[in-house]
């Protein structure tokens, strides 16, 4: 039988080892976190410096005098307010139509029986793997012949059907107990009415998750808006930023970084406020 000090020593060792392991984890994940934060914080730092202050031999994390005027200059040199407005219109215009199309199609695939159902569903699935970037040239020609070049509608219309959203909604509707639906139909509801008042409330978490993902995706869109727009009045934030970079190619880094912060701030603020909701939505939607 081991002596009391020996047992004590063994427990102490185990405790120390667990502590050391936890510490190691904090150091690793903490170090990586700092590494991931640096690019953005360094841009914020530059955006608040005077033009001459960025040329220091050693990196200065804090400006000697905070140049908030850089932000005013960004809005003075390019219409970022208008870009923001256009982005919001396009993102919401995509989302609102998508919510209708994916809900009704998801419902049909989850609950109705009809001919060619599997083949039709397959057409939706393949769209998930064939993103718009693959077919920009023919789509550009289509948009051109529809006379939609350089409109906000052009930036929205190509995304109005979502194979991914339809897939998510189908999964969600399958989870809803059939009894709910039957009861509503026995009460004499029409199916469309039943879908709206009985089924949709049941799948609200999926609708929220899909909405967040759609908003983030289209807020960040670049290639398609770049191709179908050629004037300032319809451009979105990301395109506005790229144009600003070209226009300011004299490399005033303080202004370029201020513009980058302006473009990224709305979504990042929303993310910080609703972190849990965002993370859970992306988790949930990835899970399938």
């Amino acid at each position: 039988m081991p002596s009391v000090p020996a047992v004590f020593e063994r427990n102490l060792r185990a405790l120390l080892r667990r502590r050391a392991q936890t510490l190691l984890m904090h150091v690793t994940v903490g170090g990586l976190s700092v590494l991931w934060l640096v690019p953005y914080l360094w841009a914020v730092a530059a955006s608040l410096k005077a033009r001459t202050e960025i040329f220091t031999a050693t990196p200065q994390w804090f400006p000697s005098a905070w140049q908030w005027s850089n932000y005013l200059d960004v809005f003075r040199y390019a219409p970022f307010g208008l870009y923001l407005f256009n982005t919001v219109v396009v993102v919401l215009g995509i989302l609102l139509v998508q919510l209708v199309t994916v809900t009704v199609a998801g419902f049909a695939f989850a609950r109705l029986e009809f001919r060619w159902r599997d083949i039709l569903f397959y057409l939706f699935i393949v769209q998930m793997m064939l993103p718009i970037h693959a077919v920009i040239v023919p789509n550009y020609l289509t948009i051109k012949s529809l006379g939609l070049l350089n409109t906000r509608l052009a930036m929205m219309i190509v995304f109005w059907a979502s194979g991914y959203g339809t897939f998510l909604m189908r999964q969600a509707f399958r989870q809803v107990p059939r009894e709910l639906e039957e009861a509503a139909l026995l009460d004499g509801c029409s199916r469309l009415r039943m879908l709206w008042s009985v089924m949709v409330p049941q799948v609200r978490p999926t609708l929220v998750a899909f909405s967040l993902i759609s908003v983030v995706t289209h807020w960040n869109d670049f290639l398609w808006p770049l191709i179908v727009t050629d004037t300032q009045d319809v451009r979105t934030l990301t395109i506005g930023l790229a144009m600003f970079v070209q226009q300011e190619s004299g490399a005033d880094w303080t202004l370029l970084m201020a513009a980058t912060v302006v473009v990224t701030a709305p979504l990042l603020v929303a993310f910080l406020l609703f972190q849990r909701q965002f993370v859970e939505s992306f988790m949930y939607a990835g899970l399938r």
Binding site: T28, T101, H133, A161, R191, F282, G286
Partner: protein, 299 residues
């Protein structure tokens, strides 16, 4: 089938059409018709010198086959996928496994720190990295210099421009992949890991023999998503290098864009579209089949 079931689930054709038509119209016009049209257009000679399209057989494909830039573009695209995807998956897995541990009140902070680039548009992320990779006053060269590594020209360097683009892409994508893995980890039953602990398995053994095999299905999904993303890289290249220096960072979608909207060669751009669609779909199919086989054998 019980009678009442057939009564509510058997829908009339017109009703089904009502539900599916909105989506089918847009799918047809903006996903499937473009593929047909790309195949047709790829057989035309349609460019600056021939503004009136005319049938040219396989001319555009032959042009591409002989085009050294196209070979470089293929090389860059594959290299990017083969290097950046494994690296981001390894980092994402590391983050996810660590974030799954009980790290106390700092956990949401760590999670936010790695996930926030998902909210940053790739175009803006590219700007951040242009600034970091600035050869004379960039942070990257400064810290490398402190380690005694000589100055690198990064985006202006034939060798280092592509790795620089990869780094920005990895930085932007790891958080999303980590969240997917975190979801996979949370789906693993706790008692399975506890049973392994009781049997005397340490952290590494649990990771190697329980956690990783059970993450197989998540990995299939993560790889498929990464392949789709990496083949579509455009924003980072457009902002950081415009494909340069000397096409060393030119990738397939960027080349497609150049052919169509810089050189106005719609025929060649359409041939590229066809090759891209066929390539993407077959790579995804191959990846999913290969990985699924391995997943089922290993579990």
């Amino acid at each position: 089938m019980p009678p009442e079931a057939s009564c509510y689930s058997r829908a009339r054709g017109t009703e089904v059409l009502l539900y599916l038509l909105p989506s089918l119209v847009f799918l047809a016009v903006f996903t499937y018709w473009p593929i047909v049209r790309a195949v047709a257009t790829s057989l035309l000679e349609w460019n600056i010198s021939h503004p009136q399209p005319r049938f040219a057989g396989l001319r555009n494909y032959i042009v591409l086959a002989a085009d050294p830039v196209f070979h470089l573009v293929m090389r860059n695209t594959l290299l990017l996928a083969l290097v950046a995807i494994p690296l981001s998956i390894a980092l994402a897995l590391l983050f996810a496994v660590l974030l799954h541990e009980p790290l106390g009140s700092l956990r949401p902070v760590y999670r936010a720190a790695v996930f926030y680039p998902t909210m940053v548009p790739m175009a803006a992320a590219a700007m951040l990295w242009v600034w970091l990779f600035n050869p004379s006053i960039g942070l990257v060269n400064y810290y490398l210099g402190r380690l005694g590594i000589p100055r690198v020209e990064w985006l202006y360097d034939m060798t280092w421009a592509l790795p620089a683009v990869m780094i920005s892409w990895i930085w932007k994508n790891v958080g999303y992949l980590a969240i997917l893995y975190l979801a996979g980890l949370q789906a693993i039953p706790r008692d399975l890991l506890e049973a392994a602990s009781v049997e005397g398995a340490g952290f590494w053994q649990r990771l190697r023999h329980v956690t990783l095999p059970l993450l197989g299905p998540t990995t299939v999904f993560v790889v498929a998503v990464s392949v789709i993303n990496s083949f579509q890289i455009f924003d980072a290249v457009h902002i950081m290098t415009q494909g340069g220096p000397a096409d060393r960072t030119n990738v397939v979608i960027y080349y497609l864009y150049q052919q169509a909207f810089r050189f106005w060669d719609i025929g060649v751009a359409s041939a590229l579209t066809v090759l891209f669609v066929v390539g993407l779909l077959s790579v995804i199919a191959a990846v999913v089949r290969q990985m699924e086989r391995r997943v089922f054998y290993e579990v």
